[in-house]
Symmetry: none
């Protein structure tokens, strides 16, 4: 017998006790009747998404949650970002995340986001695409994505993702020369191409009419493209082959969409789901329920918990968690009594006191027919540590879900 | 100081809450005063015999329980099956599990067990052994084991276990051609030999007097040998060297006997222990107690729990578990007050609702002098998840046992 499953991933939901809120975490402070109920009736535990104490990036975290050991499969962020932006990568291509930025004539960075330029960036793309790179057998693609962001993809044989960023990641510092991070001609060629692209982007942008107009208006010009996070496509067995399931993902964030696409999930677009604090939770729940009809496994990713965490906003995070609980409630009301499994977890901990990812384990629950009742009452970081599923690693949860859904493969006879 | 130990392995004993039995598992429904007592006084936890969510086969599960990581040491089922049937394998030999089966002239399988032929199969073995294989430097052995089953061993240099089965595993399908599953001449030679053997088995069996007689009686002829589960001997350090213990095993099932033998245990025969639901539990307990005099470690395997599980028979499984508890009681009464350690666990979960192995963790207990009292009261899947030993992996339990028995080797100085 085969069953269906939904995995809800609440980005950065894990947290720490907050001294200003009676020592509660946002998840403890929130009213979450539905997650509490699933946790109480199902199995509950805590998970090191990578390994104890290691803070996961969102890309690495999702790879791990989908069952791929990131130490074996992670090949940089750029590839996921490019695929998430809708580009098609070939094996060997190297992709970078880019920013439209403002630099002085001596290449000192004044604004890494060029005054948070938005639509105007798109108007400068044709000029950027005029750039010719003088590296044999190498071509490139450049795309503007959202706001001040873009993606650069280098196509060609003998490239390497082992090159350093041109983005200094800090205002007041000079643009960096990309350097090869490993021996061999591949990394040298890649760094050379990136340096040429960076320098030439300044040449074509500095006097671009859009920028001349921005300067007239007192806005910082978007006069250079800074690149970071070189990445390639990882070589992995996609989820439909790995587990024998048809899988889909509901996610608004380009990076997460990229990981989902690369591992072989179909992306479901929910126009009102923004990836921000204003996302449409009930539209996401409805889309997940519809997806169940056609798919065995559906991933439902919510970014807003992480946004509130990076803002250090306890009350907003509590509010977002309550919205997520409503969303889980909509799912619960529609699947109870059927044979659908629901897992809820986070991709990492982002304490509002730290405002960045940390390496604390995250809570998880797994609910459905035949799961042993934990009886923990509530779903939070504290009960998870005394739950009935103990402490697991990131790739274990999807294997446990596949086991209950009837898709796991026996090892041996 | 060195102490003695018994590990009781209840095949497939782990289960899930059963909706038809008040949400209890068979282990929860059974009266198990002795296992409860050992669990309460000893340490209790839950174990992923391979890793979370991965359903173990019996061979892989036992390798893991004996301390060998199956991802490193598992080399297919055939080798264990052959050794379990009493054959001697050399390194490099490739062994297969075989069935006497019935096929039509176009090699469509009519009955994978040839009407569950038993003693008559033995009478056809001399004819089978007349088969000549035309593959250079290669010889073979064929043995009938029990019922419709047999074992084929290919001897010779340059063989490979990476070949596919000839058994289609399904009635109404054609006998398969074995194909190499890896590059190179070794797999090609092995597949070629297996294909010759299969075809020639049909030639020597189709008009065999035993079969002509069976046809006259309206029984399906046993006119072909189907093979599956190619395996070699794993290269491993046997238990006497690995742990410094003299070890014995009481097990009726050929596959489990094979694993025990391959890892260097002495097999103890208990004629009234059948491997079935009618096995003689008290004779097994008595044999284990006798074995303690000559051995440091004794493995006591009971198959009946798995038989009841595959039959989907909750009441029978409950009954078998109570018989096992009596058996544990006999051991307990004889060893209490001495320095004998007792561990009880399962090799995998086989829920009666699923009727097949699943990847759920199994409960375990470890009792003896110096173990920290868990105070869980009862021994079951639920208490194990909240026990005082947490969640461990298959190879960990025997190491914990060796530690208490005083046989573990210090790592470092």
């Amino acid at each position: 017998m085969k069953f269906k499953g939904i995995m809800v991933i609440c980005d950065g939901m894990g947290d720490r006790p907050h001294p200003g809120h009676g020592g509660k975490t946002p998840l403890e402070a929130a009213e979450t009747p539905f997650m509490d109920r699933l946790a109480d009736q199902g199995i509950v535990g805590f998970m090191d998404v990578i390994s104890p104490g290691i803070p996961p990036g969102s890309d690495v975290a999702h790879l791990s949650l989908f069952g791929y050991d990131p130490y074996e499969y992670y090949t940089g962020r750029g590839g996921f970002e490019a695929v998430g932006a809708g580009l098609t990568l070939s094996p060997g291509d190297v992709a970078f995340r880019c920013n439209f930025a403002s630099v002085k004539e001596d290449f000192t960075v004044m604004d890494r986001r060029a005054g948070r330029i938005r639509e105007e960036a798109e108007k400068m793309v044709p000029a950027i695409r005029e750039i010719k790179l003088d590296v044999e057998g190498l071509t490139y693609e450049f795309h503007h994505t959202v706001e001040h962001r873009g993606v650069l993809v280098l196509h060609g044989d003998n490239l390497s993702r082992q090159v350093s960023d041109t983005d200094p990641h800090k205002v007041g510092e000079r643009v960096l020369r990309s350097a090869p991070l490993e021996e061999g001609v591949a990394a040298e060629r890649t760094a050379e191409a990136l340096n040429q692209f960076t320098l030439k982007s300044y040449e074509v942008l500095r006097n671009h009419p859009v920028n001349l107009n921005r300067i007239k208006q007192g806005k910082p010009p978007a006069n250079i493209i800074l690149s970071r996070g070189a990445g390639t496509l990882p070589k992995l067995q996609p989820i439909p082959q790995k587990y024998g399931v048809k899988a889909s993902a509901i996610a608004a964030v380009a990076l997460v969409r990229g990981v989902c696409k690369v591992v072989g999930m179909d992306l479901i677009d929910v126009p009102s789901a923004t990836g921000g604090l204003d996302t449409d939770y009930s539209a996401k729940a409805e889309a997940a329920l519809r997806s169940l009809k056609e798919n065995d496994l559906t991933i439902l990713h919510v970014k807003a918990t992480d946004v509130a965490s990076h803002d250090g906003d306890f009350e907003m995070k509590r509010h977002v968690i309550e919205k997520i609980d409503d969303m889980v409630g909509t799912i619960f009301r529609n699947v109870k009594g059927s044979d659908v499994y629901v897992a809820v977890t986070a991709d990492h901990t982002t304490p509002v006191t730290v405002r960045d990812h940390t390496g604390d384990p995250v809570p998880f629950l797994l609910w459905g027919p035949g799961t042993l009742r934990s009886g923990v009452g509530r779903f939070c970081e504290r009960t998870a540590r005394n739950g009935n599923a103990g402490r697991i690693r990131g790739p274990d949860l999807i294997h446990e879900l596949m086991n209950y859904m009837g898709f796991s493969q026996k090892f041996g006879f």
